[in-house]
Symmetry: C2
Subunit: 310 residues, 2 copies
């Protein structure tokens, strides 16, 4: 799957991923009204609204992008109907040929991590049959529990030819509280990064490992160090746009081959129509605003990469 991600990036010339994190407040009123008319102001109604919102955005952007990253929390908050909309979104993006990164940030130990892994990446055994649960291509994983928590995911990735992005340095303001603590003079996130690199070297695609890392766009200097520590690791970079990251900050997350990173934007794309820069599209044409935001983001990042000679 790491090769499919790379192939998709080369085909679209866009090292970006669209974060499908549909807050209900992002969904234009006409879509909410339609869903509520059909299902009432219920969890089913909310799920229908976010699914229709996603579908229009995917329809308007799929040919320009390699991958999407649905954030499962935004679906899980609507209970079972919300999770049904998550599954529908995953399946629909697959139909469009997109790589799906499930942003689930799970992490537990032993058989429990394995249960998450089979539920999201692999197949679960039921008697003589086996079934895919949510069937994403990659998932994000929290490393706080150590190898016991990560290895069951790696095992399933190996069997299914799928992949992981393990949290190393997250994009939020307080990520440093624990991640930046110095251990023998070096921040904890470097230790985690080295571990990710080691797991990665044992699980390689062609040039890159299918065990990737998450490093926030909001910490470009740390990204530069981590890029060197994890040369064969693909980096998923959240924090572009709404959280403050810009194309010029992101150059050092990439390798000299122009690969090795994929930059996520969620709000900045899916709620683009709410920004002044895209207000000309209007609420009804929110998906066209998202398409334009994808084009602009790709140009910003590619421009920065070209200026740097990558």
């Amino acid at each position: 799957m790491i090769q499919k991600l790379i192939d998709n990036i080369k085909k679209t010339k866009a090292p970006i991923v669209v974060g499908l994190d549909p807050m209900l407040s992002y969904v234009p009123e006409h879509l909410q009204k339609k869903a509520f008319a059909e299902y009432g102001e219920t969890l089913e109604g909310a799920a229908q609204a976010i699914w229709q919102f996603n579908k229009e955005i995917v329809d308007a952007t799929w040919d320009l992008i390699p991958a999407v990253k649905p954030q499962i929390a935004m679906y899980e908050q609507f209970g079972l109907p919300g999770l049904a909309a998550f599954k529908k979104t995953v399946d629909y993006c697959h139909e469009k040929g997109l790589v799906v990164i499930g942003d689930i940030k799970r992490g537990d130990i032993g058989s429990t991590s394995e249960a998450y892994a089979v539920g999201h990446l692999g197949k679960v055994q039921v008697g003589s049959k086996a079934y895919y649960g949510f069937d994403e291509d990659f998932v994000t994983v929290n490393p706080y529990l150590g190898s016991d928590g990560v290895k069951p995911f790696i095992k399933v990735c190996k069997e299914e030819k799928k992949g992981l992005f393990i949290l190393v340095k997250t994009s939020n303001p307080s990520s440093g509280e624990f991640q930046d603590q110095l251990v023998n003079g070096r921040p904890l996130y470097e230790l985690v990064g080295e571990k990710v690199a080691r797991w990665g070297e044992e699980h390689m695609g062609e040039k890159y490992s299918y065990i990737g890392a998450v490093v926030g766009a909001t910490y470009p200097e740390m990204g530069k160090v981590l890029r060197k520590l994890m040369p064969k690791t693909f980096i998923l970079v959240p924090g572009y746009g709404a959280q403050g990251g810009k194309g010029a900050d992101l150059v050092h997350f990439f390798n000299e081959d122009g690969l090795g990173a994929i930059v996520n934007s969620s709000r900045g794309i899916i709620a683009a129509y709410k920004q002044e820069a895209y207000s000309r599209f209007g609420e009804e044409s929110f998906a066209d605003a998202s398409r334009q935001a994808v084009i602009d983001m790709t140009a910003d990042i590619n421009g920065a990469l070209e200026s740097s000679g990558r």
Copy 2:
């Protein structure tokens, strides 16, 4: 809800929690056969089997225990039908007056953590209406992302009078890889513990905070230190029984008032019938074996507490 947990512990004289982590391999054959006869060897069939398994265990133990801790991964692996069985289990345990600790180990940032919090503890707004999603009483939370990840959970707990157990030192063998790293000469888990204590002091029930901690039974010496660092924090202690923890190891997780900790056992109780000690019950009477295992575990822990004068 922390007061209800304490009241339930006092009423049952059992500082224990039953981990409802139903692997399909724990479910006796007659229950699997019945579920598959009705639903086929499908995700729905698996969900029905684990739900019936849970129900019998709850029916056989609810009067002896204060709380249950369903591990959501074991349900999530069966996709949407599995999560429906999780919800059914939560609701059924509430009917029986049990406190429900959702072992979800979620953790993200800002609005995403808030989405998890409303989905599991609070109510989500849909137009003019608000709905509970999974509606547990407590959930477990991963601290790797720092305050940004935890505070949205705390906010919802305050509104809903619910609570958290934040991972401090986990019970698994590799938990030390990152958690034990020395920061200024002290292990990281102590820093996390101090943070939990601080969050806790600002969010108190009567004597204990509703912001609790997870500390593994498999590390009794560390438990002793953490108990002192977090005097008003309730500690959820996994790792008893199958993972190796014994009653005598657990004394120092408790305060002098005999409170302050609740010890989880999953496999040791729900799959008790598979152990030689309980084989006399037979597979058909698996729930009676679970009841006996609850009685024995409670006696083991209370005996150790009495010997220590707590």
